[in-house]
């Protein structure tokens, strides 16, 4: 039997456990709809009747600029996606290494624990943009032979370094959240420390931290835009180019929508994964 309290996958509508709607009767639904209409209606009325609305509408919601900038932004989107996928794989590996290093017990492993702690403190504490600048301009500035000057590569390295610190802490929380009796039982069955980690602790730890990992995935997807500051023309960079060229803010709206379209399916996919995993766990219990 698993000692883990299963996490409830969020279901927006209909479930008895859902807090969004609670237990609704038909009259409750009607009240909810009316109330929503009134609240958003009032907000919309205030916005549309503000004196500056026509200018803001032209500046932020211009259909012609939207149509012009959408193809430009979509054309460079593959750069962000490429950066995201490569970075994510490297981050998961490095973060797991850091988290495991942090959990090694005993005085002989003190240097590893120390390295992990210092790494996480430094790279969580420093703004990511500074690391990107240091690596994106500083390392090519050194002029080392054999080392690439490519901004994409150094942006990737910077993002991996910074995000591994965050994700390592998430993994660490998962590992420490697995009840110690699990490892004790594994050791008493004759598994070595490494084997108990690999076969008993980590599978449980990773499963329970998937929702917070998703948080970090989405944060990373948006942070890929930081490489625009070291010269790579990707989504955010192209957005600023279009906005500056037309003196219009609608490209920022396009950029926001593009990011939403990128992140929301990922969120629903992970929900589905977690839900499927939970069903499997419950199925074994029921038997």
């Amino acid at each position: 039997m698993s000692g883990v309290a299963p996490t409830t996958p969020p279901e927006l509508l209909g479930s008895r456990n859902s807090r969004l709607l609670g237990r609704l009767r038909p009259s409750g639904v009607l009240t909810a709809v009316l109330s929503t209409a009134v609240v958003f209606g009032v907000i919309g009325y205030i916005i549309v009747n503000a004196p500056g609305w026509p200018r803001v509408q032209q500046s932020f919601f211009s259909p012609s600029v939207f149509a012009d900038s959408l193809p430009d932004i979509l054309a460079v989107l593959p750069l962000n996606l490429e950066l995201f996928f490569i970075a994510e794989l490297l981050i998961l590996v490095l973060a797991l290494v850091l988290a495991v290093m942090r959990s090694l017990p005993g005085p002989v492993f003190f240097p590893f624990r120390l390295m992990s702690v210092v790494y996480v403190d430094v790279f969580r504490g420093v703004p990511s943009i500074l690391v990107i600048f240091l690596l994106g301009y500083g390392v090519p500035g050194l002029g080392l032979k054999g080392v690439t000057n490519d901004a994409f590569v150094w942006g990737l390295v910077a993002l991996v370094l910074v995000w591994s610190a965050y994700v390592a802490e998430v993994f660490r929380a998962g590992i420490e959240g697995v009840h110690p009796s699990q490892e004790a039982a594994a050791r008493s069955l004759g598994l070595s420390r490494f084997q108990s980690l690999r076969f008993v602790v980590l599978p449980q730890a990773v499963r329970r931290v998937i929702p917070p990992l998703l948080n970090d995935f989405i944060g990373l997807q948006k942070d890929t835009s930081l490489i625009s500051f070291i010269g790579v023309v990707e989504v955010f960079s192209q957005t600023r180019i279009d906005a500056g060229g037309s003196f219009n803010f609608t490209p920022y709206l396009v950029c926001g929508l593009v990011f939403l379209v990128m992140t929301i399916p990922v969120a629903r996919f992970v929900d589905w994964l977690v839900g499927r995993d939970r069903k499997r766990q419950l199925a074994t219990i029921a038997r």
């Binding site: 500056g52 803001v56 500046s59 500074l130 000057n149 930081l226 180019i241």
Partner: protein, 363 residues
């Protein structure tokens, strides 16, 4: 986008400025020697155009621009006078532009705006000096000081102010740190904004532009001794990795005229673009000629200007930005036309932007 991005952008600005300052070999308060003779200008009935404030001894830099000689005007550089010539008489002052009828943000004073940092040769002067017309306290300007009335745009701004009837101490300067501020909807805090902004029809739907006060050519800055330094035409440039600063028409030139095979790089501002060129991350940097000369002489080591792009390739008309539908626009237009007609803009061009060098044409 996360709020930490705003803090990161602020940090970026601080870092960029902090890195730009040590990168300049000396305090960049350039003071080109004023030209003793210039094209004869018909004297006007207006108040005398203001002379640039003489910099204090402490402010003079050891690096100065090559002294402008009245005779060696490079044939390649287009005149600053886009329309009209010294022979055209100044138009009469519109009634709505009488000093008492001007609609100003701060009545009785002219509120102007420019970027901070403000780059030479468009601006000049020493940020640490307190000029006589400068109020104490307030914004810390970087690289140059608009109150010094130096630099092509600085001198032009004060010339417009004087033409409208203001004295130099009636001019206030606001700093613009973010390009987007210039065209954000809503009422602007300035009367007009000058920051080498090119006039395009698309942009003119969001803001009012004044008449152009300068026609700017783009040029290519490279490091000496690199293969790109021997390029002589636009076709030679296709194979290289080029870069430009964001929100400049330099990027448009790369995309439309050069169309290189490698995707160009776009940097948040001139400072980061210059760093990238020095690092060798880009082969060539496209920037307007005035800024390119400053980059080559002050910000970079071992740099050269390969050439300037012919006006037929791209020419940018630079104008001031005002509120959309601002009543001040015709008055600023009138002032600029007056300055063109009496040769003041040409004089400023010769003084601040004419490098006296022959820069080859790229086409």
């Amino acid at each position: 986008m996360r709020h930490s991005r705003l803090v990161s952008l602020l940090a970026l600005g601080l870092v960029a400025v902090a890195c730009a300052a040590p990168a300049a070999t000396t305090a960049p308060s350039v003071a080109p020697t004023p030209v003793a003779t210039h094209a004869a200008a018909t004297p006007t009935a207006l108040a005398a155009t203001p002379a640039p404030a003489t910099p204090t001894a402490a402010a003079s830099a050891s690096i100065s621009y090559p002294p402008a000689t009245a005779s060696a005007v490079p044939s390649a550089i287009a005149s600053a006078v886009a329309t009209g010539s010294p022979a055209v008489t100044a138009p009469p002052r519109p009634d709505a532009c009488a000093m008492t009828s001007l609609v100003l943000k701060n009545p009785g004073r002219l509120t102007l705006s420019t970027d901070n940092p403000a780059y030479p040769p468009w601006w000049g002067g020493d940020p640490k000096t307190q000029y006589p017309n400068q109020p104490s306290g307030g914004v810390k300007w970087k690289l140059s000081n608009p109150y010094s009335q130096m630099g092509y745009e600085g001198a032009t701004a004060y010339a417009i102010a004087t033409t409208l009837g203001f004295t130099p101490d009636q001019v206030d300067w606001l700093q613009n740190t973010n390009f987007e501020q210039a065209f954000a909807p809503g009422e602007k805090k300035f009367d007009f904004h000058m920051a080498q902004i090119s006039i395009t029809p698309e942009r003119a739907t969001a803001v009012d532009f004044s008449d152009p006060y300068f026609d700017s050519e783009q040029s290519l800055v490279v490091l000496q001794g690199t293969p790109i330094a021997s390029a002589t035409s636009i076709a030679d440039l296709k194979q290289y990795k080029l870069g430009a600063a964001s929100n400049t028409t330099s990027y448009d030139l790369i995309k439309n005229a050069i169309q290189p095979t490698t995707a160009p790089a776009v940097y948040p501002d001139n400072d980061t673009a210059v760093t990238a060129l020095q690092n060798g991350q880009i082969d060539g940097l496209v920037a307007d000629l005035g800024s390119a000369i400053y980059m080559r002489d002050v910000q970079l080591t071992g740099a050269a200007i390969v050439g300037q792009f012919a006006p037929t390739v791209q020419i940018d008309h630079v104008g001031a930005v005002l509120d959309l539908g601002s009543p001040l626009t015709p008055c600023v237009d009138w002032a600029i036309q007056t300055l063109k007609a009496n040769g003041t803009l040409q004089q400023f061009f010769v003084q601040w932007l004419n490098s006296g060098q022959d820069i080859p044409l790229l086409q």
